[in-house]
């Protein structure tokens, strides 16, 4: 069981995970610039690491997550192997999905990250289906579903919430409100400022949280996960955060207000946690630095693994569709 008290070890783990996500994605920024080292769009969660780390830390290993197009953080937080992930993002045969998925549809069953969809709004109905299976099989597990503020406008999200609440399915809806859906800011795509306002329309608990505070996210998640696990049905968390980069690395964010961005940079979740833990003497600056350095080395080894892995055979494209 996750400890719902934020003990020092857990806080250090939170920090370590967030550094892993940050370093992994900073490397992808580099690789995206060097043409052809990574494939397709690079849609990163830089600035949103506290959501992935905080929510997933409140889950059990057997709990399931369903992710969306901005998935690296969720998967790394859940324990995906950075090597296989990196190789996959490079489209290599050694990737976790043999290169077929690339960055957008990563599937990592060994950590119960069973589906990732880049169709915006798809993760909630998929996750509701997974949660149904958990309820049906009387498992003590829950499903956490990640989706964005933009996705909240999709009809599928509404249908999923109604069904989950009606059948009291153990699903935690996590809306990462990062203030953007592509180039549209929240007030241009949503009629409400707080997505969590909608929870009442499904008679389910919903709370907003500072999505740049990993500990706050964790605390709320523990509470909401407890609700879901106890058989009382779904819950909604709205993690208010900010997309620190363009929508993807192909987007230079020309429409983003640099002042606002600077304000959010001040609130960088990784730095905040580091400073807090250092301030409280839980992690010394030196220890933080060595965590950072170890993580960079880990990420470099992932890149080396990816580089060393061959591309899949073209004809292998014909495999993996059908089960015989």
């Amino acid at each position: 069981m996750p400890d719902d008290g934020l003990n020092p070890e857990l806080r250090r783990e939170l920090y370590t995970k967030m550094v892993l996500i940050r370093k992994f994605e900073e490397k992808l920024i580099d690789l995206a610039r060097e043409q052809a080292r990574v494939i397709g769009m690079q849609i990163l969660s830089v600035g949103q690491e506290a959501v992935a780390a905080g929510v997933v830390k409140a889950l059990e290993p057997d709990d399931v997550i369903v992710s969306n197009h901005r998935s690296h953080g969720h998967l790394l937080a859940k324990g995906a192997d950075p090597k296989q992930l990196m190789a996959e993002i490079m489209g290599k045969a050694g990737g976790v999905n043999k290169g077929k998925a690339g960055t957008l549809h990563l599937c990592v069953p060994e950590i119960n990250a069973i589906m990732t969809s880049t169709v915006v709004g798809a993760s909630p109905p998929l996750g509701v289906g997974a949660a149904f299976a958990q309820q049906y099989r009387r498992l003590p597990h829950i499903t956490a579903v990640f989706f964005g503020d933009g996705a909240a406008a999709e009809g599928s999200v509404h249908e999923a919430m109604n069904l989950a609440a009606l059948w009291k399915l153990p699903v935690l809806f996590v809306c990462e409100n990062n203030a953007w859906a592509g180039a549209q800011c929240l007030k241009d795509h949503s009629c409400v400022e707080q997505i969590v306002k909608r929870a009442a329309g499904y008679d389910m608990p919903g709370e907003a949280v500072d999505g740049n505070d990993a500990e706050a996210v964790y605390r709320l998640s523990v509470k909401m996960v407890g609700h879901c696990r106890s058989g009382k049905g779904p819950a909604l968390i709205e993690a208010v955060t900010y997309r620190m980069r363009g929508h993807g690395e192909h987007d230079h964010g020309h429409y983003m207000d640099k002042t606002v961005l600077a304000q959010w940079t001040e609130r960088c979740p990784v730095r905040r946690l580091r400073e807090r833990l250092a301030g409280e003497g839980i992690l010394t600056a030196a220890r933080c630095d060595s965590i950072d350095a170890e993580t960079v080395a880990l990420v470099e080894s992932a890149v080396a693994f990816g580089d060393a892995s061959p591309f899949p055979e073209p004809e292998a494209a014909l495999e993996d569709l059908w089960i015989q």
């Binding site: 999905n97 998929l126 249908e159």
Partner: protein, 329 residues
């Protein structure tokens, strides 16, 4: 063998599947408590027998119903969900086509979606184009989905059992107006493999390929043609994906003539694929042009004479077969 209706045959398959495998559950709008109190409907009586854990009435939410099937099957269950009428499949399309059909492939074979979607097809019940619109060609053009379209009680039962226990996602089309049609079915868990067509009526002059309710249009025409000594070989595809190409080609190579018949509209309908396969792979056997008989390229109108006009009639098959026999290259 017992004699039951097509609807009851499907019901037996559902019943058996629920009984044999705890992983099977049913979900859909009104599949438990229904506005219809008719023992010939496939899900009749199953809620009473299996309870609301395994037979689940849902809200009117096709995307969520399909998502339920995708997500639950990814977790190892064997969902059998219903989309009430074919046009509503549009609302489930993203979940089925972009998710059930693609996510296993994209995962490099690391997950699986052993789900079945039951859907009703058919014209001639007076409800018009928003209830009647056969979209099997859409499904067939979505790699990753199997597609079954049975025409008889025995096929319905045997194929539905195969569909439910197939490890891949399957769309199972039920010809609504056949629900009340009687036929013999074997008892017990007798499955008919997916991907095998059946020669319903052997013939030597001309091959007719069809499926679903149109099978009866074809058989009627074959009877009429026999009176004037034209021997029509009628093939019921039963499964559209995977397609039993060998059965079609063997027949066309034998008869040298091909008619394709379906109740769906003509342009880019499933018949186009059959015609194309013949033109590609049996070209040297063809003695006459391929002919397609299908609904005109319009939505289904409600007015009875117009709805009847929409549905391809046996006379069209008779005329086509005669024209093919008269054709001289």
């Amino acid at each position: 063998m017992t004699k039951v209706s097509y609807g009851q045959a499907l019901q037996q398959a559902l019943d058996l599947a629920l009984n044999m495998d705890e992983r099977v559950f049913l979900a859909g709008e009104g599949i438990g408590t229904s506005i219809h109190l008719d023992p010939n409907l496939p899900t009749y009586g199953l809620l009473n027998k299996y309870g609301s854990r395994r037979v689940k009435d849902t809200p009117v939410s096709e995307a969520a119903i399909a998502g339920l099937a995708v997500g639950a099957s990814a977790m190892g269950l064997k969902p059998v969900v219903e989309v009430m009428f074919f046009p509503f499949m549009t609302l489930a399309g993203d979940m089925l086509v972009n998710h059930a059909a693609k996510l296993r492939y994209l995962s490099g074979g690391r997950n699986a979606f052993p789900l079945t979607v039951r859907v009703k097809a058919g014209v001639n019940f007076g409800a018009g184009a928003q209830h009647s619109h056969n979209l099997e060609a859409w499904i067939a053009h979505s790699p990753g989905l199997k597609l079954v379209f049975p025409s008889s009680p025995a096929d319905g039962k045997g194929l539905l059992l195969s569909a439910i226990f197939d490890p891949n996602p399957v769309v199972f089309v039920e010809e609504m107006l056949l629900y009340w049609m009687q036929g013999e079915i074997p008892e017990g868990d007798i499955r008919i493999p997916l991907g095998k067509a059946r020669v319903l009526r052997p013939g030597s002059d001309c091959t007719l390929v069809t499926y679903g309710g149109a099978v009866y249009t074809a058989l009627q025409a074959a009877g009429t043609l026999a009176e004037t000594e034209i021997s029509l070989e009628v093939i019921d595809l039963r499964t559209l994906v995977p397609l039993d190409k060998a059965c079609i080609l063997d027949s066309v190579r034998k008869t040298g003539r091909l008619i394709v018949l379906h109740d769906a509209t003509r342009f880019c309908g499933f018949g186009a694929e059959i015609a194309a396969i013949a033109a590609e792979e049996a070209f040297d056997s063809l003695k006459a042009p391929v002919m397609r008989i299908a609904a005109p390229d319009i939505p289904v109108p409600v007015s009875p004479p117009q709805e009847a006009f929409y549905k391809p009639a046996p006379e069209k098959v008779v005329t086509a077969a005669r024209a093919l026999m008269a054709y001289a290259q």
